[in-house]
Symmetry: C2
Subunit: 252 residues, 2 copies
Protein backbone atom coordinates (compact mmCIF):
# COMPACT_ATOMS: atom_id res chain seq x y z
CA UNK A 1 0.00 0.00 0.00
CA UNK A 2 1.17 3.51 -0.75
CA UNK A 3 -0.17 7.00 -1.39
CA UNK A 4 -3.19 7.21 -3.65
CA UNK A 5 -2.27 7.71 -7.31
CA UNK A 6 -4.44 8.62 -10.27
CA UNK A 7 -4.02 6.36 -13.30
CA UNK A 8 -5.11 6.95 -16.88
CA UNK A 9 -6.13 3.74 -18.62
CA UNK A 10 -6.47 3.41 -22.40
CA UNK A 11 -8.96 0.79 -23.53
CA UNK A 12 -9.99 -0.76 -26.82
CA UNK A 13 -13.28 -2.59 -27.08
CA UNK A 14 -15.65 -4.24 -29.48
CA UNK A 15 -18.98 -2.73 -28.42
CA UNK A 16 -21.11 -5.48 -29.99
CA UNK A 17 -21.80 -7.28 -26.75
CA UNK A 18 -22.00 -4.22 -24.49
CA UNK A 19 -24.74 -1.82 -23.50
CA UNK A 20 -22.33 1.07 -23.84
CA UNK A 21 -19.82 2.36 -21.31
CA UNK A 22 -21.86 3.43 -18.34
CA UNK A 23 -23.08 0.96 -15.71
CA UNK A 24 -26.81 0.33 -16.00
CA UNK A 25 -29.38 -2.19 -14.90
CA UNK A 26 -30.33 -3.76 -18.21
CA UNK A 27 -27.16 -5.23 -19.60
CA UNK A 28 -23.44 -5.73 -19.36
CA UNK A 29 -21.43 -2.52 -19.79
CA UNK A 30 -17.80 -1.76 -20.49
CA UNK A 31 -17.42 0.12 -17.20
CA UNK A 32 -18.56 -2.76 -14.99
CA UNK A 33 -16.52 -5.29 -16.98
CA UNK A 34 -13.44 -3.16 -16.40
CA UNK A 35 -14.33 -2.76 -12.72
CA UNK A 36 -14.61 -6.55 -12.39
CA UNK A 37 -11.09 -6.94 -13.77
CA UNK A 38 -9.76 -4.13 -11.54
CA UNK A 39 -11.33 -5.75 -8.50
CA UNK A 40 -9.77 -9.10 -9.41
CA UNK A 41 -6.32 -7.49 -9.64
CA UNK A 42 -6.46 -4.84 -6.89
CA UNK A 43 -8.80 -6.60 -4.43
CA UNK A 44 -10.86 -3.41 -4.17
CA UNK A 45 -13.42 -2.12 -6.64
CA UNK A 46 -12.36 1.40 -7.71
CA UNK A 47 -14.76 3.76 -9.43
CA UNK A 48 -13.64 4.62 -12.96
CA UNK A 49 -14.47 7.82 -14.85
CA UNK A 50 -14.68 7.61 -18.64
CA UNK A 51 -13.91 10.23 -21.29
CA UNK A 52 -17.45 9.95 -22.62
CA UNK A 53 -20.47 7.71 -22.71
CA UNK A 54 -20.78 5.44 -25.68
CA UNK A 55 -24.00 3.82 -26.88
CA UNK A 56 -24.78 0.13 -27.07
CA UNK A 57 -23.01 -1.45 -30.02
CA UNK A 58 -20.56 1.44 -30.49
CA UNK A 59 -16.87 0.48 -30.57
CA UNK A 60 -13.70 2.12 -29.31
CA UNK A 61 -10.20 1.97 -30.78
CA UNK A 62 -9.18 4.27 -27.95
CA UNK A 63 -11.25 5.01 -24.88
CA UNK A 64 -9.71 6.72 -21.86
CA UNK A 65 -10.72 6.57 -18.23
CA UNK A 66 -9.15 7.45 -14.90
CA UNK A 67 -9.19 5.82 -11.51
CA UNK A 68 -7.52 6.27 -8.12
CA UNK A 69 -5.64 3.50 -6.38
CA UNK A 70 -3.42 3.06 -3.36
CA UNK A 71 -1.87 -0.04 -4.90
CA UNK A 72 1.81 0.31 -5.73
CA UNK A 73 1.61 -1.94 -8.80
CA UNK A 74 3.58 -0.41 -11.72
CA UNK A 75 1.22 0.90 -14.45
CA UNK A 76 2.62 -1.47 -17.10
CA UNK A 77 2.08 -4.46 -14.83
CA UNK A 78 -1.47 -3.39 -14.02
CA UNK A 79 -2.26 -3.21 -17.75
CA UNK A 80 -0.94 -6.72 -18.34
CA UNK A 81 -2.74 -8.09 -15.27
CA UNK A 82 -6.03 -6.50 -16.36
CA UNK A 83 -5.72 -8.04 -19.82
CA UNK A 84 -5.38 -11.44 -18.21
CA UNK A 85 -8.77 -10.85 -16.55
CA UNK A 86 -10.65 -9.08 -19.36
CA UNK A 87 -12.71 -10.92 -21.97
CA UNK A 88 -11.43 -11.03 -25.57
CA UNK A 89 -13.70 -8.19 -26.69
CA UNK A 90 -11.94 -5.67 -24.45
CA UNK A 91 -8.26 -4.84 -23.87
CA UNK A 92 -6.13 -2.35 -21.99
CA UNK A 93 -3.57 -0.81 -24.38
CA UNK A 94 -1.94 1.63 -22.03
CA UNK A 95 -1.72 2.73 -18.41
CA UNK A 96 0.16 5.67 -16.93
CA UNK A 97 0.18 7.81 -13.85
CA UNK A 98 -1.36 11.29 -14.16
CA UNK A 99 -1.65 14.23 -11.77
CA UNK A 100 -4.24 14.04 -9.00
CA UNK A 101 -6.31 16.76 -10.68
CA UNK A 102 -6.50 15.08 -14.07
CA UNK A 103 -10.03 14.25 -15.26
CA UNK A 104 -10.69 11.90 -18.20
CA UNK A 105 -13.80 13.80 -19.30
CA UNK A 106 -13.24 17.43 -18.32
CA UNK A 107 -9.64 17.55 -19.55
CA UNK A 108 -10.52 16.07 -22.93
CA UNK A 109 -9.62 18.66 -25.62
CA UNK A 110 -11.31 16.80 -28.44
CA UNK A 111 -12.08 13.45 -30.00
CA UNK A 112 -12.01 11.76 -33.37
CA UNK A 113 -14.78 9.36 -34.33
CA UNK A 114 -14.73 7.07 -37.35
CA UNK A 115 -17.94 5.90 -38.97
CA UNK A 116 -17.62 2.87 -41.27
CA UNK A 117 -19.90 2.39 -44.26
CA UNK A 118 -19.78 -0.90 -46.12
CA UNK A 119 -20.73 -0.14 -49.71
CA UNK A 120 -21.79 -3.22 -51.66
CA UNK A 121 -24.85 -4.90 -53.07
CA UNK A 122 -24.09 -8.02 -51.04
CA UNK A 123 -24.05 -8.24 -47.24
CA UNK A 124 -20.66 -9.00 -45.67
CA UNK A 125 -20.53 -11.09 -42.47
CA UNK A 126 -17.17 -9.55 -41.51
CA UNK A 127 -18.60 -6.02 -41.47
CA UNK A 128 -22.05 -6.85 -40.11
CA UNK A 129 -21.13 -5.66 -36.61
CA UNK A 130 -18.63 -3.00 -37.75
CA UNK A 131 -20.27 -0.99 -40.52
CA UNK A 132 -23.53 0.30 -41.93
CA UNK A 133 -24.24 -1.18 -45.34
CA UNK A 134 -25.27 1.15 -48.14
CA UNK A 135 -26.14 -0.81 -51.28
CA UNK A 136 -25.99 1.89 -53.95
CA UNK A 137 -22.52 3.09 -54.99
CA UNK A 138 -21.56 6.10 -52.85
CA UNK A 139 -20.57 9.17 -54.88
CA UNK A 140 -17.32 10.18 -53.15
CA UNK A 141 -17.24 13.65 -54.74
CA UNK A 142 -20.73 14.39 -53.52
CA UNK A 143 -19.80 12.99 -50.12
CA UNK A 144 -16.77 15.30 -49.89
CA UNK A 145 -18.89 18.28 -50.91
CA UNK A 146 -21.59 17.47 -48.37
CA UNK A 147 -19.03 17.29 -45.56
CA UNK A 148 -17.94 20.92 -46.08
CA UNK A 149 -20.92 22.85 -44.67
CA UNK A 150 -20.41 21.22 -41.27
CA UNK A 151 -16.77 22.21 -40.83
CA UNK A 152 -16.02 24.97 -38.33
CA UNK A 153 -17.97 26.41 -35.42
CA UNK A 154 -21.74 25.82 -35.57
CA UNK A 155 -24.75 25.30 -33.36
CA UNK A 156 -25.42 21.57 -33.85
CA UNK A 157 -28.73 21.55 -31.91
CA UNK A 158 -30.48 19.91 -34.89
CA UNK A 159 -27.86 17.15 -34.89
CA UNK A 160 -28.52 15.94 -31.38
CA UNK A 161 -30.90 13.24 -30.18
CA UNK A 162 -34.14 14.59 -28.72
CA UNK A 163 -34.28 14.64 -24.93
CA UNK A 164 -30.70 15.67 -24.37
CA UNK A 165 -30.29 18.13 -21.51
CA UNK A 166 -27.14 19.81 -22.88
CA UNK A 167 -27.58 23.61 -22.92
CA UNK A 168 -24.64 24.72 -25.04
CA UNK A 169 -24.99 23.02 -28.42
CA UNK A 170 -22.21 24.93 -30.19
CA UNK A 171 -19.31 22.73 -31.27
CA UNK A 172 -16.29 23.21 -33.51
CA UNK A 173 -15.65 20.57 -36.15
CA UNK A 174 -11.99 20.73 -37.11
CA UNK A 175 -12.23 17.72 -39.39
CA UNK A 176 -14.88 15.86 -41.38
CA UNK A 177 -13.69 13.82 -44.33
CA UNK A 178 -14.26 10.52 -46.08
CA UNK A 179 -11.90 7.90 -47.46
CA UNK A 180 -12.86 4.92 -49.63
CA UNK A 181 -10.93 1.65 -49.51
CA UNK A 182 -11.49 -0.95 -52.24
CA UNK A 183 -11.66 -4.23 -50.34
CA UNK A 184 -12.88 -6.51 -53.11
CA UNK A 185 -14.69 -6.62 -56.42
CA UNK A 186 -17.61 -4.20 -56.16
CA UNK A 187 -17.15 -3.64 -52.45
CA UNK A 188 -15.72 -0.65 -50.62
CA UNK A 189 -15.25 0.34 -47.03
CA UNK A 190 -15.87 4.06 -46.63
CA UNK A 191 -14.48 5.65 -43.48
CA UNK A 192 -15.89 8.99 -42.34
CA UNK A 193 -13.70 10.74 -39.80
CA UNK A 194 -15.03 13.51 -37.58
CA UNK A 195 -12.87 15.51 -35.20
CA UNK A 196 -14.38 18.07 -32.83
CA UNK A 197 -13.84 19.70 -29.46
CA UNK A 198 -16.93 17.89 -28.25
CA UNK A 199 -19.93 15.95 -29.49
CA UNK A 200 -23.65 16.10 -28.74
CA UNK A 201 -25.60 12.93 -28.10
CA UNK A 202 -25.82 10.89 -31.35
CA UNK A 203 -24.18 13.75 -33.28
CA UNK A 204 -21.88 11.60 -35.44
CA UNK A 205 -24.65 9.13 -36.22
CA UNK A 206 -27.06 11.92 -37.23
CA UNK A 207 -24.35 13.59 -39.33
CA UNK A 208 -23.71 10.26 -41.05
CA UNK A 209 -27.43 9.69 -41.61
CA UNK A 210 -27.68 13.15 -43.14
CA UNK A 211 -24.74 12.54 -45.49
CA UNK A 212 -26.37 9.26 -46.51
CA UNK A 213 -29.68 11.08 -47.16
CA UNK A 214 -27.82 13.40 -49.56
CA UNK A 215 -26.48 10.32 -51.39
CA UNK A 216 -30.01 8.94 -51.66
CA UNK A 217 -31.39 12.22 -53.01
CA UNK A 218 -33.62 12.71 -49.99
CA UNK A 219 -31.74 15.88 -49.01
CA UNK A 220 -30.11 18.18 -51.57
CA UNK A 221 -26.54 19.34 -51.09
CA UNK A 222 -27.67 22.99 -51.30
CA UNK A 223 -30.08 22.53 -48.39
CA UNK A 224 -27.38 21.51 -45.88
CA UNK A 225 -26.40 25.00 -44.60
CA UNK A 226 -30.08 25.81 -44.08
CA UNK A 227 -30.77 22.51 -42.29
CA UNK A 228 -27.79 23.14 -39.99
CA UNK A 229 -28.95 26.72 -39.27
CA UNK A 230 -32.52 25.57 -38.58
CA UNK A 231 -31.41 23.75 -35.38
CA UNK A 232 -34.31 21.40 -36.13
CA UNK A 233 -33.68 17.69 -35.55
CA UNK A 234 -36.54 16.81 -37.92
CA UNK A 235 -34.82 18.44 -40.89
CA UNK A 236 -31.58 16.47 -40.51
CA UNK A 237 -31.28 12.88 -41.75
CA UNK A 238 -31.94 9.68 -39.77
CA UNK A 239 -29.64 8.40 -37.03
CA UNK A 240 -27.21 5.93 -38.60
CA UNK A 241 -26.99 2.58 -36.75
CA UNK A 242 -24.51 2.25 -33.85
CA UNK A 243 -22.37 -0.62 -35.15
CA UNK A 244 -20.55 1.57 -37.71
CA UNK A 245 -19.27 3.98 -35.05
CA UNK A 246 -15.79 3.85 -33.52
CA UNK A 247 -14.30 6.26 -31.01
CA UNK A 248 -10.88 6.48 -32.61
CA UNK A 249 -8.84 9.04 -30.69
CA UNK A 250 -9.12 11.08 -27.50
CA UNK A 251 -7.05 14.26 -27.19
CA UNK A 252 -5.77 15.70 -23.91
CA UNK B 1 -41.88 -26.20 -61.10
CA UNK B 2 -39.50 -27.05 -63.90
CA UNK B 3 -36.66 -29.46 -64.72
CA UNK B 4 -34.09 -29.96 -62.00
CA UNK B 5 -31.11 -27.60 -62.24
CA UNK B 6 -27.80 -27.66 -60.43
CA UNK B 7 -26.82 -24.35 -58.82
CA UNK B 8 -23.43 -23.23 -57.54
CA UNK B 9 -23.72 -20.97 -54.48
CA UNK B 10 -20.88 -18.79 -53.22
CA UNK B 11 -20.97 -18.07 -49.49
CA UNK B 12 -19.08 -15.88 -47.08
CA UNK B 13 -19.24 -16.58 -43.39
CA UNK B 14 -17.81 -15.61 -40.05
CA UNK B 15 -17.07 -19.01 -38.53
CA UNK B 16 -16.97 -17.76 -34.93
CA UNK B 17 -20.43 -19.02 -34.05
CA UNK B 18 -20.37 -22.20 -36.13
CA UNK B 19 -19.18 -25.74 -35.57
CA UNK B 20 -17.75 -25.77 -39.09
CA UNK B 21 -19.51 -26.54 -42.34
CA UNK B 22 -20.78 -30.07 -41.99
CA UNK B 23 -24.03 -30.90 -40.17
CA UNK B 24 -23.38 -32.53 -36.82
CA UNK B 25 -25.17 -33.21 -33.57
CA UNK B 26 -23.28 -30.94 -31.19
CA UNK B 27 -23.69 -27.44 -32.55
CA UNK B 28 -24.99 -25.15 -35.25
CA UNK B 29 -23.20 -25.58 -38.58
CA UNK B 30 -22.98 -23.49 -41.74
CA UNK B 31 -24.55 -26.25 -43.81
CA UNK B 32 -27.71 -26.55 -41.74
CA UNK B 33 -28.06 -22.75 -41.44
CA UNK B 34 -27.92 -22.53 -45.23
CA UNK B 35 -30.40 -25.42 -45.55
CA UNK B 36 -32.80 -23.60 -43.19
CA UNK B 37 -32.70 -20.53 -45.45
CA UNK B 38 -33.09 -22.67 -48.60
CA UNK B 39 -36.09 -24.42 -47.07
CA UNK B 40 -37.65 -21.05 -46.18
CA UNK B 41 -37.27 -19.85 -49.78
CA UNK B 42 -37.84 -23.05 -51.79
CA UNK B 43 -40.32 -24.82 -49.45
CA UNK B 44 -38.23 -27.99 -49.72
CA UNK B 45 -34.97 -28.80 -47.93
CA UNK B 46 -32.34 -29.58 -50.57
CA UNK B 47 -29.10 -31.31 -49.70
CA UNK B 48 -26.06 -29.11 -50.31
CA UNK B 49 -22.54 -30.33 -51.10
CA UNK B 50 -19.66 -28.14 -50.00
CA UNK B 51 -16.21 -27.65 -51.55
CA UNK B 52 -14.57 -28.77 -48.30
CA UNK B 53 -15.16 -29.20 -44.61
CA UNK B 54 -14.09 -26.33 -42.43
CA UNK B 55 -13.40 -26.60 -38.70
CA UNK B 56 -15.23 -24.83 -35.90
CA UNK B 57 -14.22 -21.17 -35.76
CA UNK B 58 -12.68 -21.13 -39.25
CA UNK B 59 -13.95 -18.40 -41.59
CA UNK B 60 -14.66 -18.24 -45.31
CA UNK B 61 -14.34 -15.28 -47.64
CA UNK B 62 -15.43 -17.65 -50.39
CA UNK B 63 -16.99 -21.04 -49.85
CA UNK B 64 -18.69 -22.88 -52.71
CA UNK B 65 -21.41 -25.48 -52.60
CA UNK B 66 -23.83 -27.01 -55.07
CA UNK B 67 -27.44 -28.08 -54.82
CA UNK B 68 -30.19 -29.33 -57.11
CA UNK B 69 -33.56 -27.67 -57.34
CA UNK B 70 -36.68 -27.89 -59.49
CA UNK B 71 -37.61 -24.32 -58.59
CA UNK B 72 -37.54 -21.91 -61.52
CA UNK B 73 -36.39 -18.94 -59.41
CA UNK B 74 -33.62 -17.00 -61.23
CA UNK B 75 -30.21 -17.53 -59.53
CA UNK B 76 -29.81 -13.81 -58.68
CA UNK B 77 -33.21 -13.73 -57.03
CA UNK B 78 -32.47 -16.86 -55.04
CA UNK B 79 -29.28 -15.26 -53.71
CA UNK B 80 -31.14 -12.13 -52.60
CA UNK B 81 -33.95 -14.17 -51.04
CA UNK B 82 -31.48 -16.36 -49.13
CA UNK B 83 -29.72 -13.29 -47.75
CA UNK B 84 -33.04 -12.08 -46.39
CA UNK B 85 -33.28 -15.35 -44.42
CA UNK B 86 -29.65 -15.80 -43.36
CA UNK B 87 -28.22 -14.43 -40.10
CA UNK B 88 -25.73 -11.54 -40.29
CA UNK B 89 -22.72 -13.84 -39.88
CA UNK B 90 -23.38 -15.56 -43.22
CA UNK B 91 -24.13 -14.24 -46.72
CA UNK B 92 -24.62 -15.53 -50.25
CA UNK B 93 -22.40 -13.54 -52.63
CA UNK B 94 -23.16 -15.36 -55.86
CA UNK B 95 -25.41 -17.98 -57.42
CA UNK B 96 -25.25 -19.44 -60.93
CA UNK B 97 -26.45 -22.47 -62.84
CA UNK B 98 -23.86 -25.15 -63.58
CA UNK B 99 -23.97 -28.38 -65.56
CA UNK B 100 -25.71 -31.39 -63.98
CA UNK B 101 -22.35 -33.16 -63.59
CA UNK B 102 -20.61 -30.33 -61.72
CA UNK B 103 -19.43 -31.21 -58.22
CA UNK B 104 -18.34 -28.53 -55.71
CA UNK B 105 -15.72 -30.79 -54.11
CA UNK B 106 -14.51 -33.13 -56.87
CA UNK B 107 -14.24 -30.39 -59.51
CA UNK B 108 -12.25 -28.09 -57.25
CA UNK B 109 -8.81 -27.51 -58.85
CA UNK B 110 -7.32 -25.78 -55.84
CA UNK B 111 -7.88 -23.41 -52.97
CA UNK B 112 -6.21 -20.45 -51.30
CA UNK B 113 -6.27 -20.12 -47.54
CA UNK B 114 -5.24 -17.02 -45.61
CA UNK B 115 -3.96 -17.27 -42.06
CA UNK B 116 -3.97 -14.01 -40.07
CA UNK B 117 -1.43 -13.33 -37.35
CA UNK B 118 -1.88 -10.29 -35.14
CA UNK B 119 1.59 -9.20 -34.06
CA UNK B 120 1.55 -6.92 -31.03
CA UNK B 121 2.32 -6.91 -27.34
CA UNK B 122 -1.27 -5.86 -26.59
CA UNK B 123 -4.38 -7.90 -27.30
CA UNK B 124 -6.78 -6.41 -29.86
CA UNK B 125 -10.53 -7.02 -29.44
CA UNK B 126 -11.11 -6.49 -33.18
CA UNK B 127 -8.79 -9.37 -34.10
CA UNK B 128 -9.61 -11.66 -31.20
CA UNK B 129 -11.87 -13.84 -33.37
CA UNK B 130 -9.95 -13.26 -36.63
CA UNK B 131 -6.26 -13.76 -35.91
CA UNK B 132 -3.71 -15.58 -33.78
CA UNK B 133 -1.73 -13.18 -31.62
CA UNK B 134 2.04 -13.49 -31.55
CA UNK B 135 3.56 -11.04 -29.07
CA UNK B 136 7.19 -10.97 -30.18
CA UNK B 137 7.96 -9.06 -33.37
CA UNK B 138 7.82 -11.45 -36.33
CA UNK B 139 10.99 -11.48 -38.46
CA UNK B 140 9.53 -11.18 -41.96
CA UNK B 141 12.78 -12.21 -43.69
CA UNK B 142 12.99 -15.37 -41.63
CA UNK B 143 9.29 -15.98 -42.28
CA UNK B 144 9.81 -15.68 -46.06
CA UNK B 145 12.79 -18.03 -45.87
CA UNK B 146 10.89 -20.59 -43.82
CA UNK B 147 8.04 -20.64 -46.35
CA UNK B 148 10.33 -21.79 -49.19
CA UNK B 149 10.98 -25.46 -48.25
CA UNK B 150 7.24 -26.17 -48.46
CA UNK B 151 6.71 -24.91 -51.99
CA UNK B 152 6.20 -27.50 -54.71
CA UNK B 153 5.15 -31.15 -54.64
CA UNK B 154 5.71 -32.91 -51.30
CA UNK B 155 4.30 -35.60 -49.10
CA UNK B 156 2.67 -33.59 -46.31
CA UNK B 157 1.82 -36.60 -44.12
CA UNK B 158 3.56 -34.95 -41.15
CA UNK B 159 1.42 -31.85 -41.60
CA UNK B 160 -1.90 -33.57 -41.16
CA UNK B 161 -3.89 -34.10 -37.97
CA UNK B 162 -3.60 -37.58 -36.53
CA UNK B 163 -6.51 -39.89 -37.25
CA UNK B 164 -7.09 -38.74 -40.80
CA UNK B 165 -8.03 -41.57 -43.16
CA UNK B 166 -6.63 -39.93 -46.31
CA UNK B 167 -4.30 -42.34 -48.15
CA UNK B 168 -2.60 -40.04 -50.65
CA UNK B 169 -0.86 -37.30 -48.66
CA UNK B 170 1.06 -35.77 -51.56
CA UNK B 171 0.02 -32.19 -52.36
CA UNK B 172 1.44 -29.42 -54.53
CA UNK B 173 1.84 -26.00 -52.93
CA UNK B 174 1.92 -23.42 -55.71
CA UNK B 175 2.02 -20.51 -53.28
CA UNK B 176 3.07 -19.83 -49.70
CA UNK B 177 3.95 -16.27 -48.82
CA UNK B 178 3.53 -13.68 -46.07
CA UNK B 179 2.59 -10.01 -46.14
CA UNK B 180 2.79 -7.59 -43.20
CA UNK B 181 0.39 -4.66 -42.84
CA UNK B 182 1.14 -1.91 -40.31
CA UNK B 183 -2.22 -1.24 -38.70
CA UNK B 184 -1.13 0.97 -35.83
CA UNK B 185 1.81 1.88 -33.63
CA UNK B 186 3.61 -1.34 -32.79
CA UNK B 187 0.93 -3.54 -34.28
CA UNK B 188 0.94 -5.47 -37.52
CA UNK B 189 -1.41 -7.86 -39.23
CA UNK B 190 0.56 -10.59 -40.99
CA UNK B 191 -1.29 -12.52 -43.67
CA UNK B 192 0.05 -15.91 -44.71
CA UNK B 193 -1.40 -17.13 -48.00
CA UNK B 194 -1.26 -20.77 -49.04
CA UNK B 195 -2.42 -22.03 -52.41
CA UNK B 196 -2.48 -25.75 -53.20
CA UNK B 197 -4.30 -28.33 -55.30
CA UNK B 198 -5.66 -29.77 -52.07
CA UNK B 199 -5.18 -29.68 -48.33
CA UNK B 200 -4.89 -32.35 -45.66
CA UNK B 201 -6.82 -32.06 -42.41
CA UNK B 202 -5.40 -29.11 -40.36
CA UNK B 203 -2.57 -28.71 -42.88
CA UNK B 204 -2.62 -24.88 -43.00
CA UNK B 205 -2.85 -24.61 -39.23
CA UNK B 206 0.07 -27.04 -38.72
CA UNK B 207 2.12 -25.21 -41.38
CA UNK B 208 1.41 -21.92 -39.58
CA UNK B 209 2.29 -23.40 -36.21
CA UNK B 210 5.56 -24.68 -37.67
CA UNK B 211 6.45 -21.27 -39.14
CA UNK B 212 5.69 -19.72 -35.72
CA UNK B 213 7.93 -22.32 -34.04
CA UNK B 214 10.78 -21.20 -36.32
CA UNK B 215 10.16 -17.59 -35.20
CA UNK B 216 10.31 -18.69 -31.57
CA UNK B 217 13.57 -20.60 -32.10
CA UNK B 218 11.93 -23.92 -31.28
CA UNK B 219 12.61 -25.21 -34.79
CA UNK B 220 15.63 -24.13 -36.84
CA UNK B 221 15.17 -23.00 -40.44
CA UNK B 222 17.68 -25.61 -41.60
CA UNK B 223 15.62 -28.42 -40.07
CA UNK B 224 12.51 -27.74 -42.14
CA UNK B 225 13.33 -29.91 -45.21
CA UNK B 226 14.13 -32.81 -42.89
CA UNK B 227 10.97 -32.34 -40.83
CA UNK B 228 8.90 -32.32 -44.03
CA UNK B 229 10.65 -35.44 -45.35
CA UNK B 230 10.19 -37.26 -42.01
CA UNK B 231 6.38 -37.43 -42.53
CA UNK B 232 6.23 -37.33 -38.73
CA UNK B 233 3.50 -35.16 -37.21
CA UNK B 234 5.45 -34.93 -33.94
CA UNK B 235 8.36 -33.16 -35.60
CA UNK B 236 6.24 -30.36 -37.09
CA UNK B 237 5.05 -27.41 -34.98
CA UNK B 238 1.80 -27.10 -33.04
CA UNK B 239 -1.60 -26.62 -34.70
CA UNK B 240 -2.30 -22.87 -34.87
CA UNK B 241 -5.74 -21.88 -33.50
CA UNK B 242 -8.73 -21.95 -35.88
CA UNK B 243 -9.83 -18.30 -35.63
CA UNK B 244 -6.93 -17.01 -37.78
CA UNK B 245 -7.88 -19.20 -40.75
CA UNK B 246 -9.90 -17.98 -43.74
CA UNK B 247 -10.80 -19.98 -46.83
CA UNK B 248 -10.12 -17.19 -49.32
CA UNK B 249 -10.59 -18.59 -52.80
CA UNK B 250 -11.83 -21.77 -54.45
CA UNK B 251 -10.67 -22.57 -57.99
CA UNK B 252 -12.68 -24.58 -60.55
Amino acid sequence: MSESRRLLLTLRYDGTGYHGWQVQKNGVTVQETLQNALEAVLAVRPSVTGCSRTDAGVHAEQFCCHLDTTSSIPPEKLAAALNAHLPGNMAVCGCREVSAGFHARYDCKGKTYRYQIYNSRWPNPFYDAYAWRLRSPVDMELLAASCKPFLGRHDFAGFSAAGSSVVDTVRTLSGLSAEAHEIGTGERLICLRVTADGFLYNMVRILTGTLAAVQQGKIRLEELPDILASRNRNRAGPTAPPQGLFLEKVFY
